[in-house]
Symmetry: C2
Subunit: 345 residues, 2 copies
């Protein structure tokens, strides 16, 4: 298209990093945040790409994130490692503890990483994909903001609570899924509201708990979990394991703490890493080769594996560059020039 | 009802144990198997109660389970413990390794139990509930028989792959869910076939991959995962973690090994145990009290927590006894009198 321009992954990384440095983040922190945003854009995962920059700048401008936070890794030599994000973004905290998590999973067979007190905006696939790249199976989850009612209920008490899983495969791309445990994203309901179109049945209930297709009523009511009572149970598990168990905020307290859902949520996150080579050792089988029997069996019958579209977009971006619109490029220029003033009223 | 009789939990335990002893199991093995069957009946979980005795006897009569198997615990001092069921039933293997799993989860913060080479027939809630009773959060999963197609596919390659989760609560009953990752159980489709009634839309596809409400076509085709691509992804994760990762059968190989789905499947199982007190220690919060905020918030808005009906049935059974029909009691008598001859053609 005429108004689209190609930019290399490296060039975008450099531009986004400098935006965050201009906004007051230390260089390493800025790189950590920029890294996951550029990865999202590279994978044509637009909801977690450069679209997220504004939200990050707004929470910085509101003084709700510590721009000077340096992640502190806490290690008692056990299978559980903790990293305190110190009210900073989650990504630098993950990067600070990642190598230790890998080492510990290999040593004990499995290990867990607790991220405490972080601002969270990124997709979880980044972390599980990174760990799969180190040969580990990984499961990641976190609460969010309480916008979702349990199945059979009407009051929002659950978050959209994403859950992501990664499994190593031969070749460059692991098996990765990452999804919200709500039927839809809140942003999708917002888009219907702006367009004046009804939302599909099954997405939400109104404030009385009755099913609704009216986006206004849905936003004033509650979103619903995917998969009825089963998805609701999984979402509850995410609250318990990645909220209550860590002694960090669950989705309701996260919403109360921030005084509403307009800024990024602050809470913890849980990542489990398991070493297939350790688990399979006594069987004499190669767990990765075994996994391929299933995964190729899914692909060969024409069913799509999760993340396939993302990996295809990545291959294009790495060889040809990332396609951005003039509007997107102008916004990057504006953030770079104005810093936090770009998001202040 | 006139043809129903009350039997105490202890009396049923004694009758079921003696049926398995008569069928050739060692006393301790018989007790382990009987324990979970009686627990299912006690909780009015009829699909996993005394109904399962016949399936267990049939697999014994077919010589497909080692009645003399003694579970062997393998411990390398790590966070992963293994128990080899030696082609025996899964339940005695779990009981043999359970205390070590609890000890190791408390020591390291989390631990995993691998059950190898077991015949599997029981609901998973029994194990996660037992671990929740020891103050641990627990996640359990296993493959089954390949009767389920991935979302977007048509060939059965996934099992009904149950997943169960337990979380400790004050009082007698933990938070527990346990469900198949397929929309419905295969037995439900079989019931429709016998009754000549169509199955609901969304349960299955025929052999060409087209949606079907014909139970015959469904049984010849494939069942579907719950929650579309999200449930399909979770089912895939169960195959990878509880099959490939352990070097044990996935659902397709389990089906091939047994030469069809008429006998109980043989495969492995994975149980993760996490110690909330260890995870929460640095937060200064009580993870169990935090969890209660969520769980009471779900109950108080009128949404049902999973397992609530089971716990209510249990309370009735413990105070009044278990209600069995004359037909059920006659079947127990028959199994006790005839042993394996009762299930031989």
């Amino acid at each position: 298209m005429a108004d689209q321009h190609l930019i290399s992954v490296d060039a975008l990384m450099s531009r986004v990093t400098s935006i965050f440095e201009r906004a007051g983040l230390a260089p390493e922190t800025a790189r950590g945040v920029a890294h996951v945003i550029v990865a999202g854009e590279r994978d044509n995962c637009k909801s977690h790409g450069i679209y997220r920059i504004e939200g990050c700048l707004r929470v910085i401008a509101a003084g709700k994130v510590d721009v000077n936070a340096a992640p502190k890794v806490q290690d008692r030599g056990l299978a559980v490692i903790e990293v305190d994000a110190g009210s900073g973004f989650s990504n630098p905290a993950y990067f600070a503890a990642r190598d230790l998590l890998v080492e510990r999973a290999r040593k004990f067979g499995l290990a867990a990483l607790v991220i405490r007190d972080c601002l969270h905006f990124s997709a979880l696939w980044h972390e599980v994909e990174d760990l799969a790249g180190a040969g580990l199976a990984a499961l990641s989850m976190c609460p969010s903001y309480a916008f979702v009612a349990p199945a059979g209920g009407r009051e929002p008490i659950l978050g959209t609570n994403p859950i992501a899983f990664g499994w190593p495969r031969p070749g460059p791309n692991p098996y990765v899924f990452d999804f919200a445990t709500s039927v839809a994203a809140r942003g999708e309901i917002e888009l219907h509201r702006r367009a004046g179109t009804p939302i599909p049945e099954g997405w939400a209930v109104d404030a009385t708990g009755a099913p609704t297709t009216d986006p206004e009523a849905a936003l004033a009511g509650a979103m619903l979990p995917f998969g009825a009572h089963k998805g609701s149970a999984i979402s509850t598990m995410v609250e318990l394991l990645a909220g209550a168990m860590l002694g960090e905020f669950m989705s309701k307290e996260a919403l109360e703490f921030m005084g509403g859902g307009s800024l990024l949520p602050r809470h913890g996150a849980l990542i489990l890493a398991l070493d297939p080579q350790s688990f399979a050792a006594r069987s004499g089988r190669d767990p990765i080769a075994e996994g391929e029997k299933l995964l190729t069996g899914i692909s060969e019958q024409g069913a799509r594996l999760p993340s396939e579209r993302r990996f295809a977009a990545r291959a294009r971006a790495l060889s040809e560059g990332i396609l951005l619109t003039e509007t997107e490029l102008a916004q990057l220029d504006r953030f770079a020039a104005l810093g936090l003033d770009a998001v202040r009223d």
